[in-house]
Every structure is written in C-alpha cells, then in structure tokens.
C-alpha cells in the first residue's frame, strides 16, 4: 500500500482510537468506588483502616453505631482525609448516600515563623516543604523548631504551629522563652556509685547555654563506656524554671560480648570482649578484648582507674598481644604501658590526652624489621574534637578533629636506637548550606607523619614497621590496597596524605548517598623529607545509611605523578581499587 493511501487510514485509526480513549478518560475521571452502601468515592479513593471504616459506614455489630448520619460521617471523613493531606474534600448527599470527592492533596509550600527573628532560620530545614500538609507534618515542624531552639539555649519554648491549606504555608508562632544554662542537673545516686562520676562524661560546661544535643552526647558517652544500660536526661520546664534530671537504667556491671563484622580489608572480623564497667564507687573499668581478622589477631587489655569520682584524670594501664599480618610485613607485637590520661570538655570541644612509658616487644616474622626486639618507649596521644563531630560521629556531617601522637625511644634507655615518630591527623566536615538533613557534606582528612632516627641506616632493620608509614586502604589513600603504598616491606619514614570527599545527602531513596573523592599522598624514605612523586586517586562511591550502620563502597583509580623523579619506590600503581566496608566512615 502506498504511503499516500496509508495516511488517511492512519488518521482514521488515530481518531477512532482517540474516541474510546477519551471515553475511557472521561469514565476514569468519573470513576466511582463504593466504600459501603451509603458512602462512595467519586474519583480517586483512599484506603480506610478498619476502625475508620466502621466510624463512617456504621458498625453492624454495635447497634448504637450501626447507623451513622451522613453529616456525622462527613465530619469523620474530613478528619480522616485531613490526616492524609486532603484538606479540600467535597461532599454531596444524594438521597441517602454521601458522595465524597477527596480533592487535591495539599503540600507544604512555605515555612514561616514569628518570634524567631535573630535566633534561627528555619528555611534550612528540609523534608517539610514539599510534604503533605497533615497534622503529623505540623507536629514534625513543631518538633523541628523545638529541637533547633533547644540546641541554642532555649530549653522551654512555647510553639504553636498552624497551616494554611490554601496557600500551603505552615507558620510557627514561637515564644522562645528565656535562655537557660546547663546547670542544676539533678542526679539521683545510683546504688553503690558516687553520683559525681557522671561529671566526667559531661560534654558541656555547667554555665554554658542549654543544648539538647550535648545532653544526648553525654548519654552516648555513658553508654559507650557501658557504665549503664541506658542513660538519659529528663528536661522539665516548670514555673520555677528548668530542671534537668539524670536518669539511668542499671544493669549488671559485667558484660560479655561476642561479635562479627566484615569489610574488604580484613574481610571477616571477630571480636570477643569481657568488661567490668563499675569497679568500686569511682566506677573504674577494665576490659579485655580478643580481636581476630584476616589481617590481625590480638588480645587487648585496658583499664581506666579513676582516682576520684568526678575526676577526669585517670590512670590507664594497657597491654596488648597482637599478631599483625599485612602485605608489607608479618609480626608479633605486644606492649605493656601505663598511660596517665586526662579529658576535658569545653563549650564546643573535647580534649583527650595521655602519655606514658611502655615496654614493647616486636618480632618481625616477615618483611623488614627487628627480630625479637624489646624496648622502652614513651607514647603520647592528644586529641581534640569538636562536640558536633562527636555528636554526628556515626552519621558524619559537620565538625572537626585533630590529633597528635608520638612514640619515642632513646638508645641506651632499654632501646637499641633512638627514634621519634610523630604523626598529626586531622579531619574536617562541612554541611554545605547548613541544611538539615544535610544536602551535601564536604569532608577533608589527612595526616602527616615522620620518624626520625639518630642512625637512619637502622630504619629498615631495627625500626619496627609500627614506627614506619604505610599508606593505602579505606582509611587513607583509597587508590591502593591496605598498606601497599609503597608496595614493599620498607614503607616510608615520612608520609603525607590528604583526601577530600563530597557526599550527597538523602537525595536518593533508600538512604543511598553517592560520593566522589580525591585522595593524594606523598612519601619519603627519610625523615622530614618527601619524595617529589605524588600519588593521587580520584574515585567515586556510594554510602548506604542504615539505621544501625552504614555500608560504603568505593572505587578509585590509583595514579602516580612522577614529578622529575628518576626512580620510584615499589608501587602497585596505576590500578583500580575497590573497597567495601560496613560501619567504616570517612
């Protein structure tokens, strides 16, 4: 059939098809769904639960509720539809039947507030605009405003939220009330323990403005130490002011835990732990952990011995026995140390320091390092962390941390050589735009370290690998496998790493968060010296935020920029590197 003859036929077919289609459309538009004999939906319908259906349709099993007048059914239906974001239903009584048109859904288009001028800007709050306008959504907005105010010192705000379904505006009228400080915290004494012990966990200063997040952080610290099964702060706003009361859920002090984890570095990980978290009235603690993975097997023992209940100074005896089996080396490594420690919390940050002597044993079984070496070392660690970093540690979004650690051994002081290892780590996160929940998180991390020896020739014979630097792995340079940069047993005596990552917030469903990153590293085979070669690894990945942890998968291309260097250390680059971890964060 020629094209000229086909065209009218096609046109006729299209018209014929449009007719029934339009009839179908019009019949769809007038679709009627009978909910029950006296109630019917005209157009789209909603699902009512059993209780709701009985209230609007009547309950034959209950004579008093068997027949619902149409005006009463309409009132109930309005409430049920409102709960589903349908604020403009129309009703029509036809004979003894109520026709319900559920109307268009109402979405929140704008948030406005009064009384918050100069205090906070709710425009950064997400997941309210664009949601259905329902009473639950108004409750959510109320809670959001309350949380923001309680994070800024206004512990007892009065908030009244209304919604205008015609314009989509939700409005909060707020009386923030006075600003309170974190004082007057009542601590009912738990049996057998001095209540002052809770002060050592405080993530705040008593005089600082009230912040509900810091109360939660304090509770987390108590639970992390397994001091109690549960700990929380009850905040009561009364006519006499703000009252904060500590509440704990006691449990037996001793705990045994056996667990498993997994990642692409250590593959399967196993852990068994015994802990006594309340020794004496000062609630000192001791824990022994056996850890096993493909790369490392260890038994660690730690104790925190507090000299006074409220003191933040404690003595930390520590011992570990470890077998380390990494690509560059395999060794038996143990240490017994005693580290006086101290913590401190200011209004915005937390400080931990410890330092002390220890006896170490290192026996290199494979690779370069000392054989059957015992030595005295002096270890120091100092860590500074913002409260926000700690608060969001399991769902990183903002804050910063920096740490310094050193290990020193001096020849003649139960040591064959003099060596000083220093290392600085840092991590910063920014919630771009300061949205809540975050729209995007920009993070940078890095470290710089060097080991100085009085006799550099002993670096790869007498210096244990724990005092040398190996990069590669999910925790630093993601363009190389774990500890395979350099890809030899020697490692670096000086290393620098810097990584930057941009991660999307909850833009995708199911908690999927794509990310892109760039890692860079440099190394040197002598102290305080970096070779000109730059190792860099662009990559991308995905984070899946689950309620009890996060899964991360990254793929990166490890590359080398050999800047004028004639020889490079043994490298496994360029290469594609894939990592999958559970629980590991940037």
């Amino acid at each position: 059939m020629s094209r000229r003859r086909r065209a009218p036929l096609l046109l006729a077919a299209a018209l014929l098809g449009a007719g029934p289609a339009s009839a179908r459309t019009s019949s769809r538009a007038a679709a009627v769904e009978q909910l029950c004999p006296r109630i019917r939906f005209v157009g789209p319908a909603i699902d009512l639960d059993d209780v709701e259906k009985r209230l609007v349709c009547g309950d034959p099993s209950r004579p008093a509720w068997s027949r619902i007048p149409l005006n009463q059914a309409e009132q109930f239906m309005r409430a049920f539809l409102q709960r589903r974001g349908r604020n403009f239903p129309t009703f029509k009584a036809v004979d003894d039947t109520l026709e319900v048109r559920i109307g268009t859904p109402t979405y929140v288009t704008k948030m406005t507030t009064t009384g918050l001028e100069g205090i906070l800007d709710m425009s950064k709050r997400r997941h309210i605009v664009g949601e259905l306008m329902t009473p639950a959504e108004l409750d959510k907005f109320t809670s959001a405003v309350k949380f923001e105010l309680q994070s800024r010192g206004y512990a007892c705000p009065k908030i009244s939220v209304t919604g205008d379904a015609r314009t989509g505006e939700v409005h909060a009228s707020v009386d923030p009330g006075p600003r309170y400080t974190m004082s007057d915290i009542a601590t009912p004494p738990p049996p057998g323990i001095d209540p002052d012990i809770f002060r050592r966990y405080w993530a705040f200063e008593p005089s600082q403005p009230f912040d509900t997040r810091l109360l939660s952080l304090t509770s987390d610290r108590i639970q992390t130490d397994a001091l109690f099964l549960s700990a929380y702060y009850e905040v009561a706003c009364t006519t006499t002011g703000l009252h904060i009361t500590q509440r704990v859920v006691e449990a037996p002090p001793r705990e045994v835990r056996i667990g498993v984890g997994a990642d692409t570095e250590g593959y399967l990980r196993g852990r068994a732990e015994w802990k006594h978290s309340r020794i004496g009235y000062r609630a000192s603690s001791i824990d022994v952990t056996a850890f096993d993975s493909f790369l490392e097997q260890s038994v660690d023992g730690n104790m925190k011995y507090y000299l006074r209940p409220s003191d933040r100074i404690y003595l930390m005896p520590r011992v570990f026995l470890r077998r380390e089996s990494y690509t560059p080396y395999e060794a038996a490594h143990s240490e017994a140390a005693i580290l006086p420690s101290w913590t401190w919390d200011g209004t915005d940050l937390h400080v931990e320091t410890r330092g002390g002597p220890g006896i170490e044993y290192f026996n290199t079984l494979r690779g370069e390092g000392p054989i059957d070496d015992k030595f005295l070392s002096f270890d120091t660690q100092a860590k500074v962390m913002s409260h926000l970093y700690e608060y969001y540690e399991r769902d990183p979004r903002e804050g910063w941390t920096a740490s310094f650690q050193s290990k020193s051994r001096v020849s003649g002081a139960y040591s064959d050589l003099t060596a000083h290892m220093m290392r600085v780590d840092e991590e910063d996160l920014w919630n771009l735009g300061r949205y809540s929940p975050p729209l995007a998180v920009l993070a940078i991390r890095g470290f710089a370290g060097t080991t100085w020896l009085s006799d550099p020739s002993l670096a790869f014979t007498k210096l244990p690998p724990s005092m040398r630097f190996f990069m590669g792995g999910d925790a630093n340079f993601r363009g190389a496998p774990l500890m395979e940069l350099p890809n030899d047993a020697g490692g670096f005596l000086t290393a620098v790493y810097q990584g930057v990552e941009l991660r999307a917030g909850d833009l995708l469903p199911y908690g999927l968060q794509p990310l892109v990153f760039m890692d860079g590293a440099m190394g040197g085979e002598s102290a305080f010296h970096l070779d000109p070669a730059v190792y860099w690894a662009p990559g991308a990945g995905l984070r899946w935020a689950l309620p009890f942890g996060s899964m991360r998968a990254t793929i990166a291309r490890g590359l080398t920029w050999a800047r004028g260097q004639q020889t490079l250390p043994t490298l496994n680059l360029p290469r594609w590197q894939f990592f999958f971890t559970f629980g590991q964060e940037f």
Partner: protein
C-alpha cells in the same frame, strides 16, 4: 357749690368729648386702618417689637386694604429678611418673605381668617441650634374638643380658603447634641394646577454612627383649600432612606355629624424587613374604633413573617366627654416559620396565636382627663400539636396613673413556653438529612424529651429571672440516657445597653449508659478535624494563634456580658462499654464550667480488666480538671493479686504526663514489681533484653513518658521491647499482638538525632553495635553484630 357743679359739668363735657373722639378714632381705625398703619409705621413697629430677633431687611412693604368695614386684606412683603435669636438659637436669611391674607373682624373670634391669598417664603438658609439650654415653655391650657375633621384646624382658620402657597427652604440646619439635620424643603399649593398641597424634604442626618440621607414627599388633597371647611382629607406620603422605604396612603372623611372615618394603608421596608399595614377606623361621640392588620416579612432567617391579623381596637369614651373609658385590643398572631427539614410538611406553615390587651380607666383628673388605669396583656402562641407539642404565653398586668407615667407604672408579667417531643424518633427523622441530624450513638434512642421556660415578676424591675427545665428519658440499643437540666437565667439591667446575663445550670446525668465505637489497640482515631490546618477563604495566610492584644475598652461600651456557672454531675455513675474493656466501666462526673475555666473530677469507678495478661481490678481512676491547667490531674489505683504479692499500681501526675508508682505487699523494689508484671518472673530470672525492657519501662513510667492510653496498651499487650531514646527523650515500645503482629508505640516526634543508634537490639541477647575505634589506619567507626550477656 356752683363752682363744684360747674367743674363737674366741664369734666363731664371733657370726658364726653374724649369718648367721642376715641370712638371716632377707633371707628376710623377699624374702617380705614390704612390711614393709621402705613408701611413705614409698621416697619418701625416691627423693628421695635421684634428686637429680640434682631431682624434686618433691605425692603419692607406693608399694605392693608379695607374691602369693607369688617373685611380687610393685609399684605406684607420683606426682601432679604435676616433674623437671629441667640436665646432660641434660631437664625436665618430669606430672599423673600411675603404673605397676603384676608380676614374679617368680629366679636368671637375677634379676627377670623377668610383666605390666605398668598404665602411666599424663599429662605436661603435657616439655622436652629438646640444644643443649648432652652427656656421652658409655659403650660398652655388646652380646650378639649372632639377630634372631628373641622376641629383639626385652629379656630380662627376654620373657614379659610387658600390661594397660592409657595414655601421653600433652600438649606436648613438643625443642630442637636446627638448630631445634626440638614437639608432642604418646600411646600406648594396648588400643585400643577391641581388643588393639592405638595411638600417635600431632603434631609441628611449626621451622628456619631455616621450620616444617612432621607427623602420625604407628601401630597394632601382636601376640601379645606377651596371650601373653607374640612370634610375630607386625603394624604399620600413617601419616605426613603438607607435601607428603608415607606409609603403611606390615608383618607379621612366626615361620615356624619361628629363622625369621622379613617382608612390608611402603609407598606415599605425598614432595616431590611418589609412590612405592611392596613387600618380602618371610625370616631363617634361614643367611641373610637380601629380595625386592621400589620405584618413584618422575614424578621429573622427562621421566620418568613410575623403578622397581627384581624386586629380590633375599641376605645369607648366617657359619656359627654372625649376621655377614654377603656381600651381593648384583640389580634390574631401568626408566625410563619421558614421551611426546614427534608419534608415540606415537616414544619407547620403557620404558628397561630392570639394577642389580647384591655385596659380600664379607673379615675379621672379634675379636668376630666383619664388618670388611674388597669391594663392586661395576654399573648399566646399555639398550642401546636403534631409529633411535638409547643405552646408559649405571655401575660402582663399593669396599673398606674397616666398623668404620672412612668413613675407610677406598676407591671407584673408571667412568661412561659413549653416544648415536648413524645417520640424522640420523630425528632431524629425530622432532623435526618440536615446539618443538625442527631449523631450516633444517640440516634438509635427512643423515648421522650421536653423543655420548659418560665419567668414571672415585676416587669419593670431591671433584673429579671427566668427559669428553665429540660429532660430526656431515652433508651434503646442497650443504651440509656436520662438527663434532667434545671437552670435559671438572671438578666440584669435588661432594658439598658449595658445589660448582663448570668446563667446557672445544673445538668444531672441520672442514668447514662453508652457504648463507645469499636476501637483497636493503638492510637485513638482522630475524629475531629485538626483546627490548626485552616482552609477558610479568609485564611490568606496562617492565622497567628497568639491572639493580638485586646482592643482597649471604649468608655461607655454597650457590649452585653454573659456569665455562666454550669454544673454537670452524675447522680448515679454513668456506664461506658467498650470492646477494649472486659466489663462496663463506671464513670462519675462532677464538673463545673465557668467562663474562666472548667474544674471538677471525672472518676472511673471499679471495674475489671485484663492488664499485663492478668486479671486486675481498677479500683479507681480520678481525673481532676484544674482551672487553667492544660491536662487533667490523675489519681488512680490498680490492684493485682499474685501468689507472690499483691501489687498496687498508683497512677499520679497528669493525663499528659502520668507518673506510675508501684508498691506491693510484701514490699518489693520497683524493678521486681515490673518484672513480675511484664514477665511474671523476678528480675534475676530475666534475660538481658527483658531486664533492659524492665529498666526502661521503670524509668519511663517514673518520668511520665508514657501517655495514659499508651499505658493501658502497654499493660494490655505482651511487651517485646521498651526503649528510651535519649536524643528525642521519647519512649518506644514494641508490642506483640495476637496473630504474631507487632505494633510499635512511641512518640511521633522527629528523630533529630543521628540516624544511627548506639546499639540496636534485634532479639534477646542480640544487638548491632557501632563503636568508634582508633587503629593504625586512623579513626574509624566499626559495626559488629553481637551476642551479649550481662551479669
């Protein structure tokens, strides 16, 4: 002696001469007044005797013409006449004021006007200021006359005919303390060659309430203009103003010697309500009589019309006098309600009644005026009989002295109204399909309801008390509703703008048994629209629920005040049945509602329920409403009898934050009691997860974290998990329902904390824990799936 006689003679001669001259002068004055009253002399006299009015003019012309000895014609014409009387507050300016009138001199009366040849007034402006103190007018003695048509005219003018009348006030202003009237007016005769007096006025009234414009027009036709006697008069008048119009047509004519008849028809709209009136009356020497009807259309949205039909007003006169001897009024009252209800015959088309009024004059003044009187008013509506019975009656007795009203007035009233519905089902059917339909579960009840309203006492008292009663005696479908209401309404200063009302009501729920709808374990369904979400057209933006400061009260505010004191109580406990309770729940109320607050108690009496999978006795739960409190105070006691101990659960605190205190006999710790309640075992026998649940539940209860409904559910259903979220300070409870279904209870507050909890329990002794760890590779968060045990 002769001298004396001569003096007397001369004196008499002088007197005679004087008398002759005086008589001659007087005769000349009467015969030819124009010789004496010249224009200039009259002008001087006007200036002298009119000094109080400070008159001035540019031209004054006076002329008197003698047509005969007795018939005279006087013409006065003044141009640019200006006057000002400060004492009376009157002033004005007329371009022309002229009058020509003919009269005849006589003995009685001395002067009789025979014709008004012409009257012309063109006033450019007139002003009357009534704001100042006004001199008291001397009392004038009135002569009683029959109100016959001729007597409508003043005596001197009763034979007068009319020539031309042209009066105009281009602008006038009347100032009063309450405002002002300004406008223009005119009157003309004849009107377009017809023997008719036409007058019109256009007035603007100004007051504190605003300004309004009124227009009036009248036309009078009568034989008085041409015949010099009045035997008939026909008048038409129109009035128009803001929202109001009125037309009146009246005719009065002489039907016999000293007999007059009146016929008037009026209609219009005042204040948006239309009215019609039709009157016919007569006046004879023996009595006045008036017959007619009056109707107001749509006085309220619920009434189509209110009318007084077939009214008869009779006023018999005292013999030989014009004073009334008595007065009787009898009208048929008809109320036509607006259609209501699904059936066109659901409401009667007319509610009929009767208004009767009669009064007797018991004594008269010395001048023969009526003085002391007795009067009676009796107005009744109904009785209406159908599926309902309704009647209302007002009786009023008054007495006093007409000359000393209102001080001497005494009045007593009796007001009553009754409504009874013998079959409640009829009311249900009547309201079915309307927005006032009886809701479930009341619409299945049968029986009777009734209400009555009663008031009596001194009608003049500023305070009036009205009593009312109402009652129901309903039952059906296993329910019972017997309620009696008794109250009184006290109205103070009823007749003043600052009236106030105080209502005292007692509602006795004598026998109440209701069934709640089907409910499931879980949050109660919200059956009322959340008022926080507004959908009205006026809500352009969300209304700020924080109310603006109240407007300052205006001095002399006339807003009525309503105060009330209502008490609701149960003389025997009400019974509430629900599928969630094994036995009916007795509830006693003792509540008091006043404008400032509601107070009282709601006491749930003793009943049994299965809580914590055991039979418990709820001894009592008393909810107390305190004025100003947002939640009800809570006081309850639940008792368990177990082999190990008797456990007492005390409910304290408030409904929004109930505190649970546990005690037992023999004494046990809180955790031991909860472990027994939740799991039936002592704490030592529980596993870690169960112990954690007990601990969290214990702390949650003590902190008031659980709402009252959640507490009941918590107690009614096996508990799998209890948690307390420190980040949101809310609880979370996972319950196991029959059929293996799980239900989660907890606050719906936004989870503001991190997405990850420290430890997430999966099952007894199993959890997922996240832990921060520092390794050689740096800081890391690791997650483990763990088995755990605490001891």
């Amino acid at each position: 002696m002769r001298t004396l006689r001569r003096a007397v003679k001369r004196l008499l001669q002088a007197l005679g001469l004087l008398l002759t001259l005086t008589t001659a002068l007087l005769t000349a004055f009467i015969a030819r007044p124009e010789w004496f009253l010249t224009s200039s002399r009259v002008e001087r006299l006007a200036r002298r005797f009119g000094k109080a009015y400070q008159p001035s003019w540019t031209s004054f012309h006076f002329e008197i013409v003698s047509r005969s000895f007795r018939d005279k014609t006087v013409s006065v014409r003044v141009k640019d006449l200006r006057f000002d009387d400060p004492a009376a507050g009157a002033s004005g300016l007329a371009s022309t004021a002229a009058v020509t009138v003919s009269f005849r001199l006589g003995l009685r009366p001395l002067v009789r006007l025979t014709r008004l040849d012409s009257a012309e007034l063109d006033a450019r402006w007139l002003r009357l200021d009534e704001r100042g103190p006004r001199p008291a007018k001397p009392a004038r003695k009135t002569v009683e006359r029959y109100v016959s048509l001729p007597n409508l005219l003043p005596g001197p003018a009763r034979s007068m005919t009319f020539g031309v009348v042209d009066l105009r006030a281009r602008r006038f202003v009347i100032l009063r303390s309450s405002g002002s009237l300004s406008g223009s007016a005119w009157a003309r005769y004849p009107w377009r060659s017809r023997p008719q007096l036409d007058a019109a006025s256009d007035v603007i009234s100004r007051s504190a309430a605003g300004a309004s414009r009124w227009r009036a027009r009248a036309a009078v036709t009568s034989d008085v203009f041409q015949k010099g006697g009045l035997t008939y008069l026909q008048a038409r008048a129109d009035l128009a103003g803001p929202g109001s119009t009125a037309k009146l047509s009246a005719r009065v004519f002489q039907s016999g010697p000293r007999q007059t008849r009146l016929r008037a028809v009026a209609g219009g709209r005042i204040g948006g309500h239309a009215f019609t009136a039709d009157l016919a009356g007569s006046q004879t020497p023996a009595a006045y009589a008036l017959r007619g009807s009056l109707a107001v259309l749509a006085p309220t949205p619920r009434l189509r019309s209110v009318s007084l039909d077939d009214c008869r007003l009779d006023v018999p006169l005292r013999k030989g006098s014009l004073s009334p001897r008595a007065l009787t009024l009898d009208c048929q009252l008809a109320l036509a309600p607006a259609p209501f209800g699904p059936s066109p015959n659901a409401v009667p088309k007319t509610i009929a009644g009767r208004v009767a009024f009669d009064a007797d004059v018991k004594s008269y003044t010395l001048e023969g005026k009526p003085d002391a009187f007795d009067a009676r008013l009796d107005a009744a509506l109904g009785p209406m009989r159908g599926w309902y019975r309704f009647d209302a009656r007002l009786q009023l007795q008054a007495s006093g002295r007409l000359a000393a009203l209102p001080a001497s007035l005494k009045a007593r009233h009796r007001l009553s109204a009754r409504l009874r519905v013998a079959r409640f089902r009829d009311l249900v059917e009547f309201l079915k399909g309307t927005k006032y339909a009886i809701p479930a579960p009341l619409n299945v009840l049968e029986g009777s309801i009734g209400a009555s309203f009663y008031g009596s006492g001194d009608a003049r008292s500023p305070s009036q008390t009205f009593d009312y009663r109402a009652g129901t005696d309903l039952s059906g479908a296993g329910e019972r509703l017997k309620v009696s209401v008794a109250g009184s309404l006290l109205a103070k200063r009823l007749f003043e703008p600052s009236r106030s009302f105080f209502d005292r009501t007692d509602v006795d729920l004598e026998e109440v048994s209701v069934e709640l709808p089907y409910l499931r374990l879980g949050p109660l369904p919200k059956v009322f629209v959340d008022s926080r979400i507004q959908t009205g057209a006026a809500s352009r933006r969300a209304v700020d629920p924080v109310p603006p400061p109240p407007a300052e009260a205006v001095a002399g505010s006339t807003a009525s005040v309503v105060d009330y004191d209502a008490r609701v109580f149960t003389s025997s406990p009400a019974v509430v049945r629900s599928n969630l309770a094994k036995t009916p729940v007795p509830v006693s109320l003792r509540l008091r509602a006043r404008p400032q607050a509601v107070s009282g108690t709601i006491a749930i009496g003793r009943f049994e329920a299965e809580l914590f999978r055991q039979l418990a006795v709820i001894d009592h739960v008393i909810l107390t409403e305190h004025p100003g409190a947002s939640a009800l105070g809570l006081d309850g006691l639940v008792t368990y009898k177990r082999p190990e101990a008797t456990i007492y659960i005390h409910l304290l605190g408030s409904t929004s934050k109930p505190q649970v205190a546990l005690s037992s006999d023999p004494p046990m710790t809180r955790d031991e009691i909860l472990a027994l309640l939740l799991y039936g075992q002592p704490p030592d026998a529980l596993d870690e997860d169960q112990r954690s649940n007990v601990g969290n539940a214990s702390n949650g209860m003590a902190a008031g974290a659980f709402g009252l409904a959640s507490l009941y559910l918590f107690a009614s259903t096996p508990v799998e998990y209890v948690g307390y979220d420190p980040a949101t300070q809310t609880y979370a409870v996972r319950l196991k329902l029959p059929g293996g279904v799980h239900m989660q209870l907890g606050s719906s507050a936004l989870q503001e904390s991190r997405t990850l909890t420290l430890r997430k329990r999966l099952a007894p002794h199993w959890q997922i824990e996240t832990q921060a760890a520092t390794s050689q590779q740096g800081n890391a968060i690791t997650t483990f799936l763990e088995w755990f045990e605490r001891y």
